[in-house]
Symmetry: C2
Subunit: 434 residues, 2 copies
C-alpha cells in the first residue's frame, strides 16, 4: 500500500527524537501498519545546522513551515515547535488545508485544544495530541480505548518529573530543598527558573488535560488549587516515615457528589503503596474505575525519545485512519502478520543466580560445591547462611555471578547426587534490571 | 445515530459483569460513542435462573446460542462461555455470518487466535480479544496504540494473581507454601486443583499471548520453559531479603541476538523496584522499549467486573468501527463532547491531615493548638515529636482525623498568629486510599 507522507515542523529535542525513531524503527513501523511512514518534508529554523538521520530517504528541508504544510506529499503535519503563537498558526493552517495534525504541545492543547479539535472535525482532518501530556506513559490510549467501558471515579498522578526527582533526593539524602534544587539545576534536571516545576504549575496544566480525558469535562488549569514543594523539608520525610508514609507532589481529581474535587499539592502516601515507589524523574497515573477497580501506569516523565515514541504512535494511529484497512478490521496484534517464533534455548541465557540448598551439615560442603561450580567456570558471588538452623536440614544460599543457564543446570545436576543433599537445590535467577 | 446491537453468549462471572456494566454505565458509554450499545439478545444455559440487570431494555433471552448469532439486531457477538469447543463453534458461526466477535476466552485465543482472526478478515468482521489476557490491565491498547511507535526489547510480567497472592502471603506471614495454599483454597482464591496457577501454566499461556502482541511473533505456550512456585519457602524470602530482594513468579520475554529468551519461573527482584511492590492478587506488566524507555502497567488479575470492563471496552472499539465517525476523526478525548466543569470548592473535601509546626518551645503550646482545633470541631489523631531538636526552632507534627479542609484552613489561619510560631504551619493531606 502507498505510504503516508509526514511533515515534521520543529527539530528541537522532541523533533529530533521523532526523526530518530522514524528512521531507525522504519521497518517495524511499516510491518505494524502494512505501509511505511515517509518523511516528505522537514522544517527547522536553522536547517543548514541539522543533519537528518540516515535512512530517512530524500526529504524537503526548509526553514519555512508553510512549505511543509503545502507540500503535496505531506498528509500529516507534526507540530513540534512548542509555544502557542507560531504553533497555533501551523496547526490551523494544516487543518484548514485538510491535513491531519499531530502535536506534542501541552500549552497549545491546554489553551485551545477543544477549539482546534472542532476545526479539525470541520475540515475532515484528524488532530492527535496524545504526546502533549505524559509523553512517557500511554495514558491517552488507556483512557480512550483500554478502559473506555469503565466510569472513572478518581485519577491520581505524579505528573512532574523534576519535582519528583527533588522530593526523592530530599527523602534519600536528607538534604534541604534549596540544596537539592541547586544540584538539580547544575545537573540539568531543573530549569534556571524552576517555578513551573516546583510550584506545581506544570503538574496543574497536565492534570487539567488528564481530567478532561478521564471525566469528559473542560477544566481550566487556573481552577485547580495548587501548592508546590518548596516547603517540604527532610524533617517532614522523617515524620512521614514515622507515620508509614512518604511525600509526593500529588495531582488528584475525583468525583464527589455534585462535581469534582481537584488539587495539586504535596501529600503523604503510605510507603507500601505502588505510588510511593515512584522515585526520580518518573511520572505515574493511578486510575480508579467504578467497575474495573484500580489500574496504575508508570513511565518516564519526559525526554526526546519517550516523547518521540508518543508522537510516532500518534502518527501511526492517524495514518491508519488515512489508509483504512478493508472492512472494519480491528487488529488484535501489534503487527498485522505474525511470524512463528522458536524461542532461544534458555541454556544460553546469562543471569546472576540464587541457589538454595538444604543439606546435612558436615565439613567440606562449600569446597565440594565450589569445585563443581569452578569446573563449569561459574564464579561465586556470595555464600549466605542464616543463624540458628537445624544442622540435619540446613538451608543456605550461594549466589552466582552472571553465568549461562546451561552451565548452572549442569552444575545443579552434579550437585544433586552429592550425599549431603536433603533435597535438590532450588535455583532462581536474580533479575536486577527491572 | 442508530445504536449497535449486542448479543451476549454466556452468563457466568464475566458475562454477568459485562451485563452489569452495559446496564449501569449505559449513559457514559453512549456519551463516549455518540450512540448507545443495546443488548438485543442473551444466551444462558439456564435462562430461567437468571435475572437480567434493570435498565437493559427488552432482549431475547434464550438457551440456544444460534438464536443470538442469527438475531437480526445483533451486530456484535460477545462469546463469554469459555472452553474451546462450543466457544469455537460460536465464534466461527458469528464470523461466517459477518458478525463481529468479542471474546474473553484465553484458551481459545491461544489455541486458534490467528486462524480466527484471518476468518474474521475474510468475512469483513472484526475480532477483538483484548479481554482474554490480563483483563484488569489495558495492555493490548498500550501495545497496539499507546506505544506502537516503539520497538519492544523486553516484556516482564506478573501474570497470575493466585500465585502472586500465595507468594505475598508466604512473604508477609512466613507461613509455608502448603499452609498458605490451603488457606487460599478455603478463601476461594485458589482452585481445588491449583496446578494451573501454582505450576505456572496459566501464566505461561498469558505470556505466549503477550509476547505475540509485543514482538509480533507466534509463540507456542509449550515452547516456554516453565517452573512453578511450590518449592519457594519462607526461608527463601529471608535469604532474598538479605540480598535486598523479594521473590515473584516472573514471566519474561526479551530480545537477544538471534531470537527471544522466554521463561516463566520464580525469580528474585530488588525490593526497591516497582515490580517488587506488586502484592496480592494483582497483575503487572513491565515493558522495555528500544526508544521510549520503560513503562509499567498494573491492575486486578481477574474478576467479573475488571474483565467485564475489558469486554465492554472491546465492544465499544468494535462498535466505533461499525459506525465510523465522519472523516478520519481521531477523538483525543474519551468523550466526544466536553462539558465545562467547575471544580467543587476544595474546602468541602474531607481528608486526614498532617500539620507540621516550627515553634519556639514553651509550656502550653499543645493546649493552645488543641483549643483552636476543638473550636473547629477537628479531632487530633496523634502528636509526634522527634528527639534532640533545637528548642528555639522545634519541629513537631499533629495529625488530624478526617476533617473538612475549610475547617483545617480556618484553624491554620488562627494558629499562624500565635506568638510561638517560627513560620506558618505546613499542612498536607494524608492519602491512604491510593
Amino acid at each position: 500500500m502507498k505510504g503516508v507522507g509526514i511533515g515534521i515542523i520543529g527539530l528541537g529535542n522532541v523533533g529530533g527524537g521523532t526523526l530518530t525513531i522514524l528512521a531507525e524503527n522504519a521497518a517495524e513501523i511499516a510491518r505494524k501498519l502494512g505501509f511505511p511512514l515517509r518523511v516528505a518534508a522537514v522544517c527547522s529554523r536553522h536547517p543548514q545546522a541539522k543533519t537528518l538521520p540516515a535512512g530517512l530517504g530524500p526529504a524537503l528541508v526548509t526553514s519555512d513551515w508553510r512549505e511543509v504544510v503545502a507540500h503535496p506529499e505531506v498528509e500529516i503535519v507534526a507540530e513540534l515547535v512548542g509555544g502557542t503563537s507560531v504553533a497555533a498558526e501551523i496547526v490551523e493552517a494544516a487543518l484548514r488545508a485538510g491535513k491531519s495534525v499531530v502535536t506534542a504541545n501541552k500549552e497549545l492543547v491546554a489553551l485551545r485544544g477543544v477549539e482546534l479539535y472542532h476545526l479539525a472535525e470541520r475540515h475532515g482532518a484528524a488532530l492527535a495530541m496524545e504526546a502533549s501530556v505524559c509523553g512517557g506513559i500511554p495514558i491517552h490510549a488507556v483512557l480512550r480505548e483500554g478502559i473506555a467501558g469503565d466510569r472513572i471515579e478518581a485519577l491520581f498522578g505524579i505528573l512532574n518529573g523534576t519535582s519528583n526527582y527533588i522530593l526523592t533526593e530530599i527523602e534519600q539524602r536528607g538534604a534541604p530543598f534549596a540544596e537539592v534544587l541547586q544540584e538539580a539545576q547544575r545537573l540539568g534536571y531543573a530549569e534556571a527558573d524552576p517555578a513551573a516545576d516546583v510550584d506545581g504549575w506544570d503538574a496543574r496544566s497536565k492534570l487539567a488535560l488528564l481530567a478532561s480525558l478521564a471525566f469528559g469535562v473542560r477544566l481550566e488549569p487556573s481552577a485547580i488549587p495548587t501548592e508546590g514543594i518548596r516547603r517540604v523539608s527532610p524533617t517532614d520525610f522523617e515524620y512521614a516515615r514515622q507515620l508509614g508514609c512518604t511525600i509526593r507532589l500529588l495531582c488528584s481529581a475525583r468525583r464527589a457528589e455534585g462535581g469534582l474535587f481537584v488539587s495539586v499539592r504535596p501529600a503523604l502516601l503510605p510507603l507500601d503503596t505502588i505510588m510511593a515507589g515512584v522515585r526520580g524523574a518518573y511520572n505515574a497515573v493511578w486510575v480508579r474505575g467504578a467497575f474495573g477497580a484500580d489500574t496504575f501506569y508508570y513511565g518516564r516523565g519526559a525526554g526526546p525519545l519517550p516523547t518521540g515514541v508518543a508522537v510516532v504512535s500518534d502518527l501511526m494511529r492517524v495514518a491508519r485512519g488515512l489508509r483504512p484497512a478493508p472492512a472494519h478490521r480491528v487488529p488484535p496484534f501489534a503487527a498485522s502478520t505474525l511470524e512463528p517464533a522458536d524461542p532461544l534455548p534458555i541454556g544460553r541465557q546469562q543471569r546472576p543466580w540464587y541457589l538454595r540448598f538444604r543439606i546435612k551439615d558436615r565439613p567440606g560442603i562449600i569446597r565440594d560445591l565450589a569445585t563443581i561450580l569452578a569446573r563449569q567456570s561459574i564464579s561465586i558471588d556470595a555464600v549466605l547462611q542464616l543463624p540458628g538452623q537445624d544442622k540435619q536440614n540446613l538451608p543456605f544460599v550461594i549466589t552466582l555471578e552472571s553465568s549461562p543457564e546451561a552451565a548452572v543446570r549442569a552444575a545443579l545436576e552434579e550437585m544433586q547426587a552429592l550425599d549431603f543433599m536433603v533435597e535438590p537445590p532450588l535455583a532462581m535467577p536474580i533479575e536486577r534490571g527491572i
